[in-house]
């Protein structure tokens, strides 16, 4: 899958619609948001009743559906920027990353960084990769538009570039859906095994 993804990225770049720089934007925003969220709540010693406590008492299918439903809604928010000039993606990415940072900061303050990390390390990287891929897809049309506006050739039209970038963006969305489904499965197994 990664090889195919690389091929897709190369073809998109060859068409002048995207570049490595644009692929770096969501991860940079995400890491910044995590740092801001963590720094804001790193001193909080408050433990709430997490979702997983309730989920543990449910059937595995219910847990999986609960996780997939929650993650899918976030994933679609990340991708929605494809239809809103990137605004909803930027807004969602900012809120999601600070939320992740803040909740992890609280968890780390209560149980320690190592325990907090070990509880999510099996599925969180895959889940975040899926969400960041969806955010990248959500920002692809608007970055194509901006790139076209500053292109050397005046024959590249910004609006046409925006529309043309929707197709590779949808492909990225499909890959992110696969990652979210895989991470949902892993998270379900992790939660039920506790």
């Amino acid at each position: 899958m990664l090889a195919h993804l690389t091929t897709v990225t190369r073809s998109v770049r060859a068409e002048g619609r995207s570049s490595k720089t644009e692929l770096l934007v969501p991860p940079i925003v995400f890491v910044t948001g995590i740092v801001v969220g963590w720094a804001s709540l790193s001193d909080s010693h408050v433990l709430g009743s997490g979702d997983w406590v309730t989920a543990k008492q449910s059937a595995s299918a219910d847990v999986l559906l609960h996780i997939l439903g929650r993650n899918l809604s976030v994933l679609l928010l990340m991708f929605s920027g494809a239809c809103t000039l990137g605004f909803s993606t930027v807004l969602g990415l900012g809120l999601l990353s600070t939320y992740v940072g803040a909740t992890f900061g609280v968890a780390a303050a209560n149980v320690g960084v190592a325990d907090a990390l070990s509880s999510v390390m099996l599925y969180a990287p895959v889940e975040f990769a899926g969400l960041l891929l969806a955010a990248t897809a959500g920002l692809m049309p608007v970055t194509a538009l901006v790139r076209a506006a500053f292109a050397e050739s005046s024959r590249i039209r910004p609006v046409a570039s925006y529309v043309a970038a929707l197709r590779p963006a949808l492909l990225y969305l499909c890959y992110s859906l696969v990652l979210i489904a895989v991470s949902g499965g892993i998270e379900t197994v992790v939660i039920l095994s506790r």
Binding site: V146, E152, S153, P158
Partner: protein, 203 residues
């Protein structure tokens, strides 16, 4: 001859040219010299740096507004209040970065398609009318905001007076290029300059 040159260089582009197609019975249009990308990038980076530098002022403003609002009783935990303020500032900066990119894209598109003459600095680096408008309506405003610690400089009447003055004054730098063109095209040049200046309210 002059009239013909002005028609090619200054007139609004034909729809065929906008769509990237040329009529078969006409010679291909010469490539339009664009304001170099590095000038736009410099403008973008400078504006972002100034806004980032004014983030502490914005943070204080948000904290003050939160303390004065009815929501202060609902956010009793100082950590949560801090988080809310930080999220607000972060999202505001991120949205600003996107809005500025779109604003400069609009300016670059207008620069290429509406009014094409260029000024040069030391015979190099050409720049167009709409680059001047975009630069004058973003960098000085953010520089004043950062220097004087004003969180919302665009909410003052002075800002509107300034951007309209920029929109009307910037075309005068290019006076020799439009002095002989038809009045309707002069109106397009001036009105688009003022519109781009006014649009800087969001950037």
């Amino acid at each position: 001859m002059n009239a013909k040159v002005q028609e090619v260089d200054l007139g609004l582009p034909r729809m065929e040219r906008i769509r990237g197609r040329a009529r078969s019975d006409e010679p291909a249009a010469p490539p339009v010299e664009a304001t170099p990308r590095r000038w736009w990038v410099l403008l973008y980076v400078l504006s972002i740096a100034l806004v980032a530098a004014s983030a502490p002022t914005l943070r204080s403003e948000v904290q003050q507004r939160l303390a004065e609002s009815a929501a202060r009783d609902k956010v009793t935990d100082p950590g949560l209040a801090d988080l809310a303020v930080n999220i607000g500032v972060l999202v505001a900066v991120l949205i600003f970065m996107l809005v500025l990119a779109l604003y400069l894209s609009l300016a670059a598109t207008m620069d290429r398609h509406i009014f094409r003459p260029r000024l040069r600095v030391n015979g190099h680096s050409p720049f167009g009318l709409f680059f001047v408008v975009a630069a004058c309506c973003t960098v000085p405003v953010h520089a004043v905001s950062t220097t004087l610690a004003i969180a919302a400089p665009k909410d003052t009447p002075l800002f509107f007076a300034y951007v309209i003055a920029v929109g009307l004054a910037a075309p005068w730098l290019f006076r020799k290029h439009w002095i002989d063109i038809p009045r309707s095209k002069k109106a397009i040049v001036f009105s688009s300059s003022v519109l781009l200046a006014a649009a800087s309210y969001v950037a």
